[in-house]
């Protein structure tokens, strides 16, 4: 794929590997984590965590002016037998265990939601069918909270589909018991005007594996913040993402893997394609290896394919290492234009330009999709990508 020197004007692909005595990931935030929105000042846009985000397009999620309207989100959960699906009040003890809101909008969501969804897969339950959660926006403003918990040695695939139009902020928690295996696919297929800001917290148990697949196509502004930490040794996290940013869209994926426990693994791979005037993709990949996390093995990667002029990418991998006793740590980031040689090769075989472009983009994503390892999800994603390409890559 095209390399970094091919970076379109106006884009950044900065990167850093810092060897620090103390994390700067935490100190870069404007306030310490808190469940209470009052603990965060209203952002003005120059804060580290907000500098890429168009605050004026958040429709008030960041400054308290967005107020929940009734019936804005229709949530439907389809779960196989053995799974418990509940709606619980704010004081339920199972909420807030996987992580604490780290910015004002996440805290706003936590302070404003009325009921939380809790989906529980009991210990040692191995599901053969996915749990499907459909989240459909019906206009207005909504704040949400969702917990998905797997007991020890449980195994599940969860597919969350976001469609329709809404302005929403939410926190999603994934709590994995020892040896549990969870794959979550979150598809953001919103209508053009939707605004979606969410923090995802995963707490990965001892020897558990967590796989997250984030797929963002739609929306006016989508800003997701998947975060992982470990509750025991031997945990594994794989964070995959793909996004297709069209004219005028802002799609921001900020990741944090906190290696707070020895002998855990993480692998982050996000790929995006952009096209059209003012398409803006932001990818922040923070990986922190704490002093006590010896034996850590981590790799993070972000690649962007810019299909037209006028699109902008900000890609910032950031790896902080506080111990030298690790197995491996690496990062890569590249943003490039269409590879003319690939196009030429395909066209020299009679394939018309628009079809050749689609093949290249499909191929770019297929490489990532092939890593997901759940066949029907791979197929569905490829079909979805196909649909997106049919509609947009000409």
């Amino acid at each position: 794929m095209a390399e970094a020197q091919n970076t379109p004007v106006g884009s950044t692909t900065a990167g850093a590997i810092a060897v620090a005595a103390e994390s700067t990931v935490a100190t870069r935030m404007s306030a310490p984590p808190s469940f209470d929105v009052a603990d965060f000042p209203v952002p003005h846009g120059r804060e580290e965590e907000w500098r890429f985000t168009p605050l004026e397009r958040l429709r008030g999620l960041h400054d308290g002016t967005a107020v929940a309207t009734g019936d804005s989100l229709k949530v439907a959960v389809e779960a196989p037998e053995g799974v418990t699906v509940e709606l619980v009040g704010r004081d339920d003890a199972r909420l807030g265990r996987a992580g604490t809101p780290v910015d004002r909008v996440a805290a706003q969501a936590y302070s404003a939601f009325e009921q939380a969804g809790v989906v529980t897969v009991p210990k040692e339950t191995v599901l053969t069918e996915p749990i499907r959660i459909s989240v459909h926006g019906q206009g207005g403003v909504a704040f949400g909270h969702q917990v998905i918990e797997l007991g020890a040695f449980a195994e599940a695939v969860v597919v969350i589909d976001h469609t329709g139009d809404v302005v929403t902020a939410a926190n999603v928690e994934y709590v994995l018991g020892d040896g549990a295996k969870l794959t979550v696919v979150s598809v953001q297929d919103w209508d053009d005007k939707a605004v979606h800001v969410a923090q995802h917290n995963a707490l990965v148990g001892r020897d558990a594996s967590f796989k997250s697949v984030v797929v963002t196509f739609g929306g006016d502004v989508v800003r997701l913040h998947p975060r992982v930490s470990y509750a025991g040794t031997g945990g594994e996290a794989e964070l995959y993402g793909l996004y297709f940013t069209d004219a005028g869209q802002h799609q921001e994926h900020r990741l944090l893997v906190d290696h707070n426990t020895p002998h855990c693994k993480s692998n982050v791979a996000y790929k995006g394609a952009l096209q059209g005037e003012d398409a803006h993709a932001v990818w922040i990949g923070d990986v922190l290896i704490e002093a006590k996390a010896e034996g850590t093995d981590t790799y993070e990667m972000n690649r962007n394919l810019v299909l037209t002029d006028g699109a902008r990418v900000d890609s910032v991998p950031n790896l902080e290492i506080e111990t030298g006793e690790i197995v491996g740590a690496g990062h890569a980031s590249a943003t490039g234009r269409f590879d003319d040689e690939q196009l030429f090769y395909l066209m020299a075989r009679g394939i018309p330009q628009h079809e050749a472009r689609r093949l290249v983009v499909r191929g770019f994503f297929a490489e990532l999709v092939q890593q997901i390892g759940v066949a029907d999800i791979e197929e569905r994603l490829l079909a979805k990508i196909e649909e997106e390409l049919e509609a947009s890559v000409a």
Partner: protein, 254 residues
């Protein structure tokens, strides 16, 4: 009968902010059924000729004409040229990540033939052609040229040649990087296509080795951006014995 006519072709490239003329008046006519070998030293412009005929965007045509059966090739886009019957087997085939060989071949055959080949006959056709080229069936599921060895890339090019059945095939150093076995296998593939009598072949090579397997009707010596001498197969023997020195040390004009 298909005829490719190249007349006084001049081509430049942009390099280091300067415009450099690489082809300085190439004249050549290739007819269906004929095989022309173009031989010349490194950097003489052989690949530039091949790429220019295929329409690579890096090369600017500054003069001359190219026609295929009277149709202006230079007016056509890259894909139109291919659909008109031109095929370029590349010296350095390009990797296309995430696109499988089988998908690529079928998409390409559909474009060239104007309709999707019937699945059953197509699968058989691909399988048999791969077998004859000693390509393992697993290649069909691999990504185009990704991780292929030099020899495997060349076989994959000839596989396409056999499947796409062009009117004019330009083979740019298909022999380079091949061991003797691979050279024989690849040459047999080219010969199968030639024996149909339906293709005009422009065989670009640096070495005479491949001409033992693929007998040319005409041999052209290429030097400094033009054809400086033309003859029959015997000219290749002369080059074998004497090398290109006589042509590169100046003094020779076409």
């Amino acid at each position: 009968m298909a005829t490719l006519e190249i007349r006084d072709l001049h081509v430049t490239v942009e390099a280091d902010n300067a415009t450099k003329e690489i082809l300085k008046g190439v004249d050549l006519t290739v007819k269906q059924g004929e095989t022309h070998a173009i031989m010349g030293p490194n950097g003489s412009g052989k690949s530039t000729l091949a790429y220019s005929l295929a329409g690579h965007p890096k090369y600017t045509i500054t003069g001359g004409t190219v026609t295929l059966d009277g149709e202006d090739v230079l007016e056509m886009s890259v894909d139109e040229r291919a659909r008109a019957g031109l095929f370029l087997a590349m010296q350095y085939p390009v990797e296309v990540p995430g696109v499988s060989v089988s998908n690529f071949l079928r998409t390409s055959a559909t474009a060239i033939r104007g309709e999707a080949p019937k699945l059953r006959t197509w699968v058989k056709e691909v399988k048999e052609t791969m077998e004859r080229l000693s390509m393992d069936p697993s290649f069909a599921e691999r990504n185009v040229n990704e991780g292929f060895s030099g020899g495997e890339k060349k076989r994959h090019e000839i596989l396409q040649l056999e499947l796409l059945k062009p009117k004019i095939a330009i083979l740019d150093e298909t022999d380079s990087g091949l061991d003797v076995d691979a050279l024989r296998i690849v040459s047999e593939g080219v010969n199968r296509v030639r024996e149909t009598g339906e293709v005009g072949t422009l065989l670009i090579t640096h070495y005479t080795r491949i001409l033992r397997y693929i007998k040319p009707d005409f041999v052209h010596v290429f030097s400094a951006g033009r054809i400086v001498e033309s003859g029959g197969a015997e000219l290749a023997d002369k080059l074998e014995d004497e090398g290109y020195e006589a042509y590169t040390k100046g003094g020779v004009s076409a």
